[in-house]
Amino acid sequence: MDEQRDIRIQVPVLARVEGEGALELLVRDGQIEKLQLRIFEPPRLFEKFLEGHSYSEVPDMVARICGICPVAYQMSAVQAIEQVFGTPDSDWIQSMRRAMYCGEWIQSHALHIHLLAAPDFLGFNNAIEMAQVHPEAVQRGLQLQALGNNLISLFGGRSVHPVGVCVGGFHQAPSIRAVNDLRDELQAALPEAQALIRWTAGLDLPDGQQDFVSVALRHEQEYPMCRGRLVSDAGLDIAIDEYEQHFREYQEPHSTSLYSLLHDNPYLVGPLARLNLNRDRLSLNLQTLIDEIGLQLPSRNVFHSIIARAIETCYAIEEAVRLLDNYQLPSQSAEFIEPKAGTGYGCTEAPRGILWHRYDLGEEGMVLNSRIVPPTSQNQARIEEDLHQSLTAYGLQHTDAELRLRAESVIRNYDPCISCATHFLNIRVERE
């Protein structure tokens, strides 16, 4: 007899893994008449799945939303739930969560820089071709990616679905020995990370000045990952709880992904936005290095995102070393918190930008309703705006193949979750 499988895990979302994205471009009389980008977005389906589940299941369930950034989903979720139940006091818990998040930034950024973005700027079709000529660059990327993964695994316990994070803290504390070994590995990787910044700054990046609003978290002391207020370079300065009063989502018929606007305008989230708004929160070392490479901040050129990722990779390594220095075992890896009813908000900086969660919890902390706004959909309106401007500036008289390549590299600047496929884009150009 066939067992009835739980329908909740049978949703056909292979499309995201296939890297489904489509661009439709209609050019008439040398002008763009229509430009529509379609992104498929599994996080929305999870909003429904979570209803009726206990708060204790949420971290493991949301980790499954994304194969690349499970940690970000877990951190935003526990922050929201803990806002209702009570946020853990312990420095150890806050520090180790930040260290784990550093691992995800390192892993995600290193992969994107080396395997997805760099080929565009060195004239290769893909990372495989690039590896034949620049194997040392690709190897560096893979080593940094492995380092990030090791840092996540230190807290996450296993390679599939890291299970370390729970409401109240962690399921267990890593040993002093394991932490010290990894801290040494991270320290040893710093020179490579600094070299990476110089390398990205030396790439032949297109010059594309645009007008846009950057949005990120901002904290009194730290470069933002897990905490802060939501700010923009157009005067926004709000608590994360007020997100819904300023950011509005709506659906365009051509895309299953919701679009997001801030005060009715597109906006940018992600490494460049963070850097534009938080340069002063970096270490002095890094600020000096930024001056040395001649990067003017704030930057209005989204092609600088690759440099921003390199800077953040180095920052995350420095920060992880600092957090893991003089590691001591805590008296407990998690604080017990009494579940209760209420509405909680969480917003953390995933590698790709702010990831905002809201949960309405019933008695005993059961999820009644959830809302998850990922960074990629928040960038969607900005990406379309960018494509419009970039392709026009590039010149619509270029061939379809050239337009596709330029469009792909513009989109790749945003490192959308569909980047797993290097050439995901199905472009249909109609010229009249």
Binding site: P12, L14, V17, G19, G67, L111, C420
Partner: protein, 151 residues
């Protein structure tokens, strides 16, 4: 030797994990063989698969759901060269898998032997494979294991 099941939480794409679970409890694998095998589950590893391939294993067996246009449940066995040359006709994962293998090859870092086993998901990629279907693949992998050790 490493046997890595590649998958995601969705439908037929769980195949890699199902097979690893069954291999873990399988009683027909001889202890002498089992001693030499590491079993691993990977969730949408994409380019992260390369790190696994660099793990120093002499021999790697990958398990993944595929979409090769064959009837549902068709068993496929592919060598490294066949995987990296075929970017069309295989599953979405194999785009990540094909790339990862091609990249490892470009850097001279493929394990000595690499083979991929899969089942075609057919038209019903949202339906998980049942025990009869996965059992067939498990038997084939067990057979490969005993050949590998004796060969």
């Amino acid at each position: 030797m490493l046997i890595a099941g590649i998958g995601s939480p969705f439908g037929a794409d769980q195949l890699g994990w199902q097979v690893i679970d069954q291999l873990q409890t399988n009683t027909t694998i001889e202890p002498a063989i089992r001693q030499h095998c590491d079993l691993l589950k990977l969730d949408r590893p994409g380019a992260g698969l390369i790190e696994t391939l660099q793990g120093g294993y002499q021999r790697v067996i990958l398990i993944d759901a595929v979409q090769a246009g064959k009837p549902r449940g068709t068993l496929l066995r592919l060598e490294a060269e066949q995987i990296s040359e075929q970017s069309a006709g295989l599953s979405s994962h194999n785009f990540g898998v094909a790339e990862a293998i091609a990249l490892a090859r470009a850097m001279g870092q493929l394990p000595g032997e690499l083979v991929l086993f899969g089942l075609d998901a057919g038209e019903n990629s949202d339906m998980a494979f049942d025990i009869a279907e996965t059992g067939k693949l498990v038997d084939r992998v067990v057979h490969e294991l005993s050949e590998a050790v004796s060969g």
